[in-house]
Symmetry: D2
Subunit: 357 residues, 4 copies
């Protein structure tokens, strides 16, 4: 089991939901990048819990404390270590979970894997809380990418039965991405935000949860990055994105929509535009044969409904090996999708920076 990812930039994430601290080490990050603290804070805030009724009521300052690798606001080239102290932990809530695994959580397979030694409190190392260091690292990666002319942002494409507009895959403006990146509930259509919030509130009042889809775009990536087999841009992004808890699907461009399409409709033709080769459409989401085509990189990620719900559920007591009804009483997110948006952006930024370097 490994919480390390990346090739040139190696991100090592540590911590348990109810331990002393969570954090990360970012190894191989380029030297000489000036960091904007406000942008880091903004991304941390977008992910942080306790924001409003769409998220768990657990409040955490989520203040990143830099231990190394940054001197006078600039990266030194040495590993960047960061920790966030855990302050608001209510381990009592999880007492009855130790032996009765929560359905659709990692509790049971983690128990098998670690022989019962893993820290079960709050999901331990498997907690969604571990995405905070990823967002921190991603915020740094975004700033390194911006110096190279690459910009990344995501929006909520679907929650339950409500769908947002999609990116125009071949025509995505910096302005739109900037607007989304500044938003804690990013949608392209303003009305859809209201409908989606209603969908989440309904699930919350029912003691239930609801899933969704996030669509993410990166503009400014030149043609020619990536490769085939192990090094496809799609494979490398997907490998990172599936590392986000609750992600169960990844598609590029038209993705699963390609199934019912003809080649003559799907193919992205070329034309000369401003003296350069341009694509007339971008159904492939910016990647051809595993290599970037110069068009925006566009992909979607399916997020399952938060498995922690208030409704009673059927499970098994691993000690007595008897069936048992489980009621989860802690504080939970009725929908993890809004908080997952900056995590998706972070994983995309870390992977693309690793590919481009």
């Amino acid at each position: 089991m490994s919480s390390v990812m990346g090739d040139k930039i190696k991100l090592s994430v540590f911590g348990e939901s109810h331990g002393a601290a969570i954090g990360c080490v970012i190894d191989g990050f380029p030297a000489g990048i000036t960091l904007d603290d406000e942008k880091i804070k903004r991304d941390m805030q977008r992910r942080a819990p306790g924001r409003d009724k769409t998220a768990t009521a657990r409040k955490e300052a989520d203040e990143p404390i830099i231990l190394s690798g940054i001197l006078n606001g600039k990266t030194t080239g040495a590993p960047i270590a960061m920790q966030i102290l855990n302050t608001n932990t209510k381990s009592g809530d999880y007492a009855n979970l130790a032996l009765v695994p929560r359905p659709s959580h990692s509790d049971y397979p983690a128990f098998v894997k670690c022989g019962g030694n893993n820290d079960i409190r709050g999901g331990g190392h498997f907690s969604g809380r571990l995405t905070a260091p990823i967002v921190f690292a991603g915020a740094l990666a975004k700033q390194a990418l911006e110096e190279k002319g690459v910009k990344i942002a995501a929006h909520i494409k679907q929650i339950g039965s409500v769908s947002d507009d999609c990116f125009e895959k071949n025509n995505i403006s910096e302005e739109l991405l900037d607007k989304l990146a500044a938003n804690s509930f990013g949608t392209i259509s303003a009305e859809k935000e209201i409908e989606m919030r209603a969908e989440i509130e309904k699930a919350r009042l029912d003691g239930d949860s609801v899933g969704g889809i996030i669509e993410c775009a990166a503009i400014g990536v030149p043609a020619g990055f990536g490769g085939n087999m192990l090094s496809t841009v799609e494979g490398r992004l997907a490998s990172a994105l599936f590392g986000i808890p609750a992600v169960k699907g990844v598609e590029f461009g038209a993705g699963f929509g390609f199934a019912d399409t003809l080649g003559s409709e799907a193919n992205d033709e070329y034309e000369v535009s401003g003296g350069r080769v341009a694509l007339k459409s971008n159904n492939n989401g910016g990647v051809l044969g595993g290599i970037t085509s110069g068009a925006p990189i566009v992909f979607s990620v399916a997020i399952k409904p938060t498995p922690s719900i208030s409704k009673p559920q059927q499970s098994v007591n691993l000690e007595t090996m008897k069936n048992e009804t489980l009621v989860i009483s802690g504080r939970h997110d009725p929908c993890i999708v809004p908080r997952a948006v900056p995590v998706v952006e972070a994983m995309a930024a870390l992977t693309l920076l690793d590919i481009i370097l």
Copy 2:
């Protein structure tokens, strides 16, 4: 750019569509596995071109020649090298492609990446023909997995507007998988095969192509394999699956269907069954928190329509930098989905063996 994949088992694939040979080296394959030549041949045949009207008319014997690593029908523990000689190459067909990239192929990004040095004939190293060595390696991996009680097979879930039945995710029999693995056009419902073939034939007659979805299952994988972040089972499988040309999406279990689902519907509850922990449903496709749950691993893969079509298409001459209409005259697959089935199985087998070892 790398055509090497895997961690303990490193697969290095080589060759160009119109070069001397294609092949692979499988490094780290366990010693002492007895190989069944018939099963290898059968998988090679399922992928081979020229079979019937659903595939390109190019005929290749695709006879794997073993160079090392196998002695008296058993693996020695040393790297297994294999080559397939290219015999039926018509490079003339590709003469006009050198400077006019085919839409939705890797031609243009590969040209940028390799500075024009790449072998363009037949797609060169990016040709779908390079999946033959993967199927060979996968056939070996399947046999090593069978010794560990793991069985893998896939079926065509969708082609164009025609959909097959899906796997019953929590109840997949060995018999069904054996039946699919023996079939060159594997569907669960026999009638759907007929409809799908009609859909492909229609595209062929129109000089067009059509996409589809493949669903794959692995049974017998015990709980507790995999991990989080870099080592999720989903991420590792996806990383390999996106290495298959034309794959544009990967989803596990309910996948993108989770978006419009409530937690109370989606969660996979537990029960005691035969003295062991069992899942009452398998919407998560056998993986929870990146770790295997003991239920069948079930995932789907979206395949785009073959980009090579007979219809005229708009492209650009990279030398003159003028728009140009391109007509592709070679032999092409109206639908690559049937031939991709054993490739999907192979990538799954190679990845799961790598995880389990």
Copy 3:
């Protein structure tokens, strides 16, 4: 540039000599290992500065603070994060070094590599102080190895002109290794310790420094681990050992002594002993063809004299690009060899655990 090492166990080391903290994340460490704090402390003490006149007078508590991965004294299987706060930093000492690189230190190449962004104070991330987290991680690895019957310890084989006895390569007792592991100046011959200390004291009084050789042994490693090319036991150990600052040579068994030896003298013959295959000698230091032979693994490591000396030295001012005489005034080790002994053991333990897992 990467401070991450290992395959299954990934060690990520962070920190700068005069930053907030140094530390590490150990990813992939097995779950369920009970840790003995006293043994960890003992190894940290053997490496710590300020012990006696053989080492720098800088005193550091070097108290490891666990952030994650250990619960109730047992490893959980999640990444183990540890930090040591830097308390006794005198950055003023290094003011004049910023632009005038110290001879034989990493100052100049690190300046070129990081474009002048690296933290120069105390050597920054390149400081020997960064070996403290390695010793911590190594102490954990030693305990995991002991559960598998493997024991590791090293002694000072040479300092300046004084040489200790060597290990009897084919006959190394647990008692000897236990004695060495408990010692902060480990030699096989007690008298040699006195002579070596005199050699160091002489260098110290001269404002100079002196080099040496450390010999390390691991007993209990079964035959059959390792492999050829990338995975030789020698190559993997050497790769880690050269990561220790000041290490300039690594040899196994007779090592460079093989040059003037005949095959008939050098070859390690076999015999049956207690019903098992045994080696009659161990000139190969426990590794044949990159694979462990079952005999003790024995290797030596050359350590250069500490480059920081009090004597004036010739250097260059990187700003004015003029020659300049440099006088280094801080606190320095006249001989780093005694403090390097537990670091060598740690690197050996981490690598062997990674190979054996």
Copy 4:
């Protein structure tokens, strides 16, 4: 067990001494490098057996057959696959070795590792013959390096009791390296070649073998490449060099000689020379803190005497588990050092190219 090495350039070596073919796949090699066949042949010849009395009488054409990755004499960016057919195999010679392992060979540990499945004929995959593909790959790497101004060559520093002059570590001319690279028995002093040949002939007539040391230099590598921990230039080179059969020691610059040196003697001071920073000496062999200093990279490698000798030796029959006297009758090298010279150069070239890319 893995025969794959490298990071950006992945070399996968395959084959067994008496199998159908040996060869390699070089993945990630840069596109657009024009290759000089003569230089490849020359290096292959320097390594080839049957040359004169210093080497085994087994004659092999060792003709590399290119399967992919090279078009019209230029690299395409796709993996380069190469095979050498095995033509002159006398497996009968090895019949009695199957169950009685040769002392100091990999026979016994390989038997344990592979559970007796490995191909024992001629050492199988562990044969020194597998260095032929490495020399091929190294010859390509040398040509890519020359385009970047880097030149590599090695000489025989010692055989038995005879020592050649050493490189002047801070003053190594292109002319000297060119001369060594063109020679099949490279020494700096012409007389020493004669004495060394006599030393080898004496061992041959005695049915014995003799060891030696090879010293290698790379000039033209700029300052600032490499890093600390996992990415030291020393560690990466050593990891590759220990992959060469019979290598038992690696040292950089003064290496083990540092043990009896004072810092004031050992330190490499700086001076301004031609407006640039230069080292006044190069005891560190071109690497400081794991990073290149801009001075020539100089290292030495210890080679043990060939373990295959004609004299009777004591071993064990692994079937009967009785002691047995072994007489090895095949054709063997009385000294492997001359043939190892181009292999050392190749490993250095592959590693340095991987670091520089």
